[in-house]
Symmetry: C2
């Protein structure tokens, strides 16, 4: 742990259970509004639109656009397929902001609280700053600082996102550990000099799904959850 000063965390899937939360919220909305749909398929379809929407920004087909607005574009495309056409603009906006209300995995708050005692802890997500801060306030996620792709004006895995995070933290990349459930995120962070901690989240894509595979020894640390990560990092 020598020389480690801060931990930056991927958020969707790593800290919070986007799929479970969306299924729960939409099931409740469906019941109250009499809309029947496969809400797990809805959650998966919404998330499936995530990388293609960011690709529009990455390729320059769209100027910089906050993730809230990308989520809304995808939602508007999906709405007819899932019986959401009858919702008002205010209701659609409230649905879109479910990403601000995602519930953490059960170990997240306890693990972060321990890690915060020894290290600076920060988000490093493609979610916009207000999404991440609203989420943190609601869920009690005790971040020291909210960092986001929004502050670099480009999306992960662009190396500028990780470099900007280290710069804002006032640290060298090797003093920072990127924590994520997604090997691609960790590889991009490692490429700019971050250290890496892999926390697989086998339930990210729902019951019966599996964690993304990683080669043994590829990352500096691997932990089953954030409490185990705190053990590994001496916090």
């Amino acid at each position: 742990m020598d020389g480690i000063r801060a931990l930056t965390f991927d958020v969707f899937g790593t800290v919070v259970d986007w799929r479970g939360t969306i299924v729960r919220e939409m099931s409740a909305l469906g019941l109250s509004r009499g809309i029947e749909a496969d809400w797990a398929a809805f959650a998966d379809a919404w998330r499936a639109g995530y990388q293609p929407a960011m690709d529009l920004v990455r390729r320059g087909d769209l100027p910089w656009t906050k993730l809230d607005a990308l989520h809304r574009r995808i939602l508007d495309e999906l709405a007819p397929r899932f019986g959401l056409n009858g919702l008002s603009e205010a209701e659609l906006d409230a649905v879109n902001r479910v990403w601000h209300r995602l519930d953490p995995w059960s170990d997240a708050v306890e693990g972060l609280t321990r890690l915060k005692r020894r290290y600076a802890i920060a988000t490093l997500s493609n979610g916009n700053v207000s999404l991440l801060s609203n989420m943190a306030k609601r869920a009690g996620l005790p971040w020291d600082v909210i960092l986001s792709a929004e502050l670099a004006g480009c999306y992960k895995p662009d190396p500028r996102v990780y470099r900007k995070a280290a710069d804002l933290l006032g640290l060298e990349p090797h003093e920072v550990v990127m924590v994520a459930a997604h090997p691609s995120d960790l590889r991009a962070a490692a490429a700019v000099g971050f250290r890496t901690a892999f926390v697989p989240r086998p339930l990210e894509h729902g019951p019966g799904s599996t964690a993304e595979p990683a080669a043994a020894g590829e990352f500096d640390w691997t932990a089953a959850d954030f409490v185990e990560l705190a053990d590994r990092l001496g916090a």
Copy 2:
């Protein structure tokens, strides 16, 4: 309070007592190193270099430069006058980082904790992000999000700093209250549409100094401290 969603706070002088902290720290350093100097004059001289140093960036004579680096330029100029020439590079760096360790006014943590229950609370300081987050972690300042001139790439009172803050919060300017002990900061925030709360800090410049004057009714709220501000804002 209708429609208010977030409060943004000036930090140096408004939340923390920069002068008192610097005098305390430097007096202790002076004793341990056998350096005799007028540490109140040192604190005042360091702060007196603040606006001129930012002016170099504002005029374009310097590219964007973090406040940590501006503080260091001023410190290097002052060092011979105050007997600090014998300090090592590591010691000078530690002195420079006193701005990361400033103590809050005695009402700050209690008032912010109350205000946080009802509103999003954020810094909006010319201090860089790492300065503000290190300060918050040490002092227990419960910010929801750390916002800084650094995220706009220019210094207050440039209107882009306030606009960037509202944009990152996902809010319209009229949904945000700027809180400061300095009328000039509040005027600049009001010019872009923020609401304003004036919290005079008569001791900012030391015993016997007075708060900056403000015309009656110029700002939306005035409070003697953050606890009274929480009362005024129904938090």
